[in-house]
Symmetry: C2
Amino acid sequence: MSQPTKRARAAAAASATAEDPAREAWSLIVRLFQCGKASTMASCAEFDLSAAQAYLLQTLDPSKPVPMSSLAGALSCDASNVTGLVDKLEARGFVERQPDPNDRRVKMIALTASGKRVRAEVVDRLATPPASVEALSKTDQEDLVRILKKAVAPPLGRAAGAE
Amino acid sequence: MSQPTKRARAAAAASATAEDPAREAWSLIVRLFQCGKASTMASCAEFDLSAAQAYLLQTLDPSKPVPMSSLAGALSCDASNVTGLVDKLEARGFVERQPDPNDRRVKMIALTASGKRVRAEVVDRLATPPASVEALSKTDQEDLVRILKKAVAPPLGRAAGAE
DNA sequence: GATCGATATTTGAGACTGTCAACTATAGAC
DNA sequence: GTCTATAGTTGACAGTCTCAAATATCGATC
């Protein structure tokens, strides 16, 4: 802790620019997510779902089918990727492709009855936080929720107030 | 909101059990991370690195080589996976395998000079938060940092106070 | 110091994710 | 009707990741 040259530069980068709390917060969120990854994967495995499949399932609104293109948008991935994921979930009877009466090009993806059941379980299971989050004080947890709510976009169906 | 049966169950699961702030916080963190994923991938692409490669680079401590098994632990993935990632980074001259004088089985992964440079840039770039985080008030950002710091494990080298 | 069971790393096979480019079918405009 | 744009699918390919099997080395034991 004595040569400002290399040492300081490395330290500043390592701690992700301490002068900007937004950058630091983001780095911490990424790290936290990463440290929960193992448990997330394990949860998915319990349902014989890959992370991508589970996330797609989670993204679906049980009460409202969405076109595949919307899914591609929500998952920020290529449309052709969604085709493959839906194929697998459809093969297991969790989702089905429905025609859109207004546009015969689009296929609406809807959860089946069994899909809704599984989705509910998956969502519940994936919400299980790593121990380090559980260990925070109730106050910290509530503050976290309050702040994070401002920072996340609303899920697929809800357009900030619509229902 | 009238039939407690299906409706309530689905709603409770969908909002990630509002009664437990830890669960809700975790769900929000996952969502937030996901919404920053696209930008993260783009940042990695700028350096011609995959997300996994960038993350491995980021995990390395510029001042201290670590055995591959530690990396596997830190990335929570199989050791054989680390072999492949290190192969690619080594081919580009960012890391090198060094012998461990104490145990000839282990290979210590060290950043090269160019690897240290790239790592610093990558770390800096990946710390760039999505707009929604940037948009939070300074107070919220600082609270976030304060709380999140308690919830993340220290990085590879630092054993909670050692240096 | 030879042997045995554990550990670090590598290799190869195989599943899955994800991208791109090409294709089909349909929509909407002119 | 013809043209251009869009939704979804397909096939080729790169990358990640896991598992099981191999190799080298360690540490302890006889």
